[in-house]
C-alpha cells in the first residue's frame, strides 16, 4: 500500500542518513588517531625566531640533519617544516607567519649546521 511504502522509505532513508553520519564520524576519528600517532613519532626541533621589517628568519637546530629530507610547505599563514636526521629521528614544526605579511615567500639554506628559513613578504608600494 502506498502509505505503508512511504513509511518504509522514510525509515530506510533515516537509517541511511544515520549510517552516513556514523561513517563520517568513524572516518574523522580514524584520521585524528592516525594524525596523533604520526605526531607522536615526530619531535619538535629547537628554533629561534628573528623578526625584521617584512621578514621573519627562523633558525632551526637539527643536528645530523639529512639535507634531502627537508620538506617545507607554506599554507596560508602557516609554514610547515619536517625533516629526518641521519639517526632516523623525525622532526616536525609548524610556524605561524605574521598576518600582515603579504604574499610571503620562503627561502631555505643551511648555515653553520643550522637550517635557516627566511620568510619574506612583498614590499608594500
Amino acid at each position: 500500500m502506498p502509505a505503508y511504502k512511504d513509511l518504509e522509505d522514510m525509515v530506510r532513508k533515516a537509517i541511511e542518513a544515520e549510517m552516513k553520519r556514523m561513517e563520517e564520524i568513524i572516518e574523522f576519528v580514524s584520521r585524528e588517531v592516525k594524525e596523533s600517532m604520526e605526531n607522536q613519532s615526530y619531535i619538535e626541533p629547537l628554533y629561534t625566531e628573528i623578526r625584521r621589517e617584512n621578514r621573519v628568519v627562523y633558525v632551526l637546530d637539527v643536528p645530523y640533519l639529512r639535507d634531502e629530507t627537508i620538506y617545507i610547505k607554506l599554507e596560508k599563514n602557516t609554514l610547515n617544516f619536517s625533516c629526518t636526521d641521519n639517526r632516523g629521528t623525525k622532526y616536525r614544526l609548524s610556524l605561524r607567519i605574521p598576518n600582515d605579511m603579504s604574499q610571503p615567500e620562503v627561502k631555505v639554506s643551511r648555515v653553520k649546521g643550522r637550517v635557516c628559513l627566511i620568510v619574506e613578504g612583498k614590499a608594500s608600494k
Partner: protein, 250 residues
C-alpha cells in the same frame, strides 16, 4: 655557610694561588653550561662536591653513570687549579639570589682570586658572524681597570645583564670578591657551542691554563643533539628572569 644550601665534599681541594672559580649555569645559548661541561667531559676537572637544597633546587636528580646526584656540583682540576660550579639543570628564578649568596660564601671559604661567569649575549645576526665577539662585565671598578688592560675581550659599556649571573655579580661585590662575566655573542634559545669555545679560549688566556677548544668545535653537533632537553627546560625558565627581555642587552 648559608643553610639554604648544603655542600657534601668528597675531598677538600688543595688549591694554589691564584685560584679561579668558573660558574656554568644554563642560560642564553647554554654558553656557560657547554663550556664547563666540556672541562668536565675532558677530565680537566673532577667532581669533588655536591650542593643540595630542599628549598631552592627543583626536584630533579642528575643521573651520572647510574648514580643519582645533585644537579648542582663542584669540580676541581689539580693541574689547572680551577674550581668549577656546574649546574646540570636550569635554576629557577627564585633560587638565583640564594645561589649567588652561596657562591659568594663558598668562594670566600676557598679564598678564590676571582669568580668567572660565562654567559651568552643573544644577537639577531648570530648566524651571519664568523666569530662571536666577547665582552666583560666586572663587579668592581678595580677589576674593571684590570680587565681594561686585556686585549682578549671588550668592555660591555652600557646595558643590562639579567639571569642567574646578575645576582652573582651583586653578591660577590658585597663580599669584596672579584667576579666578572665573560659575555659572548650567541643565540638565545638554541645551543651555541661555538660561543662556548670563544669563552673558554678567553678563560684559558686569563687563567693561564691552556684549554684546547678544537675538540669542542669538532663535537659541536653531538653536543647540540645531547643538550636539546636542557635547552628546552632553560627556554621555559629564561623569560621569568627578565620579563621577556634577552639575558644581556645594550
Amino acid at each position: 655557610m648559608d643553610q639554604d644550601f648544603e655542600v657534601e665534599e668528597s675531598f677538600v681541594p688543595n688549591l694554589r694561588k691564584p685560584t679561579y672559580m668558573i660558574v656554568g649555569i644554563p642560560d642564553a645559548g647554554l654558553v656557560g653550561e657547554i663550556a664547563t661541561e666540556y672541562l668536565i667531559s675532558k677530565g680537566i676537572v673532577d667532581e669533588f662536591g655536591q650542593i643540595y637544597s630542599r628549598k631552592h633546587l627543583p626536584t630533579i636528580m642528575h643521573v651520572d653513570d647510574g648514580v643519582a646526584k645533585s644537579p648542582l656540583r663542584l669540580y676541581y682540576g689539580k693541574e689547572s687549579n680551577l674550581v668549577v660550579l656546574h649546574a646540570w639543570t636550569a635554576i629557577p628564578v627564585n633560587s638565583a639570589y640564594p645561589l649567588a649568596k652561596f657562591i659568594s660564601d663558598y668562594a670566600t671559604k676557598l679564598e678564590v682570586s676571582a669568580v668567572i661567569s660565562i654567559t651568552g649575549m643573544p644577537i639577531p645576526n648570530r648566524l651571519e658572524i664568523e666569530k662571536p665577539n666577547a665582552y666583560w662585565i666586572a663587579n668592581s671598578k678595580e677589576l674593571a681597570q684590570e680587565l681594561s688592560k686585556l686585549d682578549i675581550m671588550q668592555k660591555f659599556s652600557q646595558g643590562y645583564i639579567s639571569g642567574p649571573y646578575a645576582p652573582i655579580l651583586f653578591e660577590t661585590a658585597r663580599r669584596k670578591i672579584n667576579n666578572f662575566a665573560v659575555v659572548v655573542e650567541s643565540f638565545l634559545d638554541i645551543p651555541d657551542p661555538e660561543a662556548s669555545a670563544v669563552a673558554l679560549d678567553i678563560v684559558s688566556k686569563y687563567t693561564g691554563f691552556t684549554v684546547d677548544v678544537s675538540l669542542l668545535l669538532q663535537e659541536a653537533e653531538e653536543i647540540r643533539a645531547r643538550i636539546k632537553g636542557l635547552m628546552e627546560q632553560t627556554k621555559r625558565e629564561l623569560p621569568t628572569y627578565a620579563s621577556g627581555k634577552p639575558m644581556t642587552y645594550a
